[in-house]
């Protein structure tokens, strides 16, 4: 996960003053870092100000200036926007032809949380670290741990839980990998500490 930066520069290109101000205020509310804004109301303003401002993110109505084609803007080297992220501002359901080339889409009816997620992705942050999430034990794995620390054999565990011995072994391997615990003594300590079993259950 990238380290969060302090400030971001966002350009908002939208002809309507009310929509533009609304976007700025919604993003201020949703972002958890400082955001600087450049508000652009006309295509002429876009052409004259955008490269000097060098925004990290451009939020633009796809119908701005008739049709805003992201690939053309990106490829135009004189603008220097090849690394900039483009977010389409939509008041309707997204249609592929309209949002073609955009990195993200914000809809007028999005919640603050949705906008926040869009900004995080556009700023290059991953989703909240899910690798630790993946290493969480499943309900079945927890059941197996309980059986193991109570001293049952793999065969007995398989019978109790209506599984094959092979499946039990697979679960045990996954448990060992997830917890980095390979001995049943250590597993018992884990199980007690995490209240999967009571101390008196441990054999």
């Amino acid at each position: 996960m990238k380290h969060k930066r302090e400030t971001f520069k966002v350009a908002v290109a939208e002809t309507s003053l009310i929509l533009r101000s609304g976007v700025v205020s919604a993003i201020r509310r949703a972002a958890d870092c400082e955001v600087l804004f450049l508000e652009i109301s006309t295509p002429q303003e876009f052409d004259s100000k955008i490269s000097a401002y060098a925004p990290d993110i451009v939020i633009v109505n796809p119908l701005f200036n008739g049709r805003f084609v992201v690939s053309e803007i990106r490829d135009n080297k004189s603008l220097g926007l090849s690394d900039t992220k483009f977010i389409a501002l939509l008041s309707t359901l997204p249609t592929p032809s309209l949002t073609d080339g955009f990195d993200e889409v914000i809809n007028l009816y999005d919640s603050s949380d949705q906008i926040h997620a869009v900004l995080d992705r556009a700023m290059g942050y991953d989703e909240p670290d899910i690798s630790s999430e993946e290493e969480q034990l499943s309900k079945r794995e927890k059941e197996i741990i309980c059986e193991v620390v109570k001293g049952y054999t793999n065969k007995e565990i398989a019978d109790h839980l209506n599984l094959s011995v092979f499946t039990v072994l697979t679960h045990r391997r996954n448990i060992a990998r997830k917890l980095q615990i390979h001995s049943s003594t250590a597993l018992a300590i884990y199980a007690i500490a995490n209240k999967l079993v009571s101390i008196s259950d441990v054999k």
Binding site: Q180, I181, T185, A188, A193, I199
Partner: protein, 229 residues
């Protein structure tokens, strides 16, 4: 910096305190004054080249003198290291651990001690195997005795990784799961010792893999050649 026989041993030890353990395992004691490496080695009857190869490896990872090591000096050094673990360090760690877990739930404390004991048993088994099988084999080789073909140093199974992973597990269960029993200082002290024991064992295994084994393999090769000639 690469140390030579003319460096003062006292300065070297002050630069790299982990060499204290190396020194004592070569049978050297403190109190050598301002003597250089060569003089201390001569006094204690230690092969100076082997000693230098080990301290340069431990302090800088330098293996350039691996060819200079005497396998008999190395195996006596490794034997003394094993004695240090089995007779001194592990029993001491164990009694400190017993003290640090006391006062917690009895079963919980017992589980931690059980885990430590099974770790200790695993390491002892590995070290005793080296003492009883590997070193005698190497000592025979060094006397130029032809050895039967059933054993080769490469075939001696390395269980070093297993030793490492069990210690890691011990640390991690204590750190993550052991409940507070009002003995934070005692437990911290044990953990510090476990961390330093881990580093020392790692260095010990590295010496075996990167200095000792290559030297023994070299010896095997040259003996095979004389046998064929």
């Amino acid at each position: 910096m690469k140390y030579t026989e003319r460096h003062r041993l006292g300065d070297i030890i002050c630069d790299h305190y982990q060499l204290l353990l190396v020194m004592s395992r070569f049978g050297m004691h403190l109190g050598f004054g301002d003597k250089c490496v060569k003089d201390v080695c001569d006094e204690r009857g230690v092969d100076c080249k082997t000693f230098l190869a080990v301290i340069n490896y431990v302090s800088n990872g330098d293996t350039s003198d691996a060819k200079e090591v005497s396998v008999t000096e190395m195996s006596s050094f490794l034997r003394l290291s094993h004695g240090y673990y089995l007779d001194f360090l592990f029993p001491r760690l164990r009694s400190k651990l017993v003290e640090a877990v006391s006062g917690a739930d009895e079963k919980m404390s017992q589980l931690v001690i059980d885990f430590f004991d099974s770790y200790m048993a695993g390491v002892s088994k590995h070290l005793t195997y080296e003492d009883n099988v590997v070193f005698p084999y190497v000592e025979k080789l060094a006397c130029g005795k032809s050895v039967d073909d059933s054993f080769r140093i490469v075939s001696y199974s390395r269980k070093h990784e297993q030793i490492d992973s069990m210690l890691l597990e011990l640390k991690s269960i204590i750190i993550k799961y052991f409940p507070d029993n009002g003995k934070t200082n005692e437990m911290n002290a044990v953990l510090y010792e476990i961390f330093s024991c881990e580093a020392d064992l790692k260095s010990h295994c590295d010496i075996e893999d990167n200095l000792f084994m290559p030297a023994v393999m070299e010896l095997e090769k040259s003996l095979k050649k004389t046998k064929e000639a």
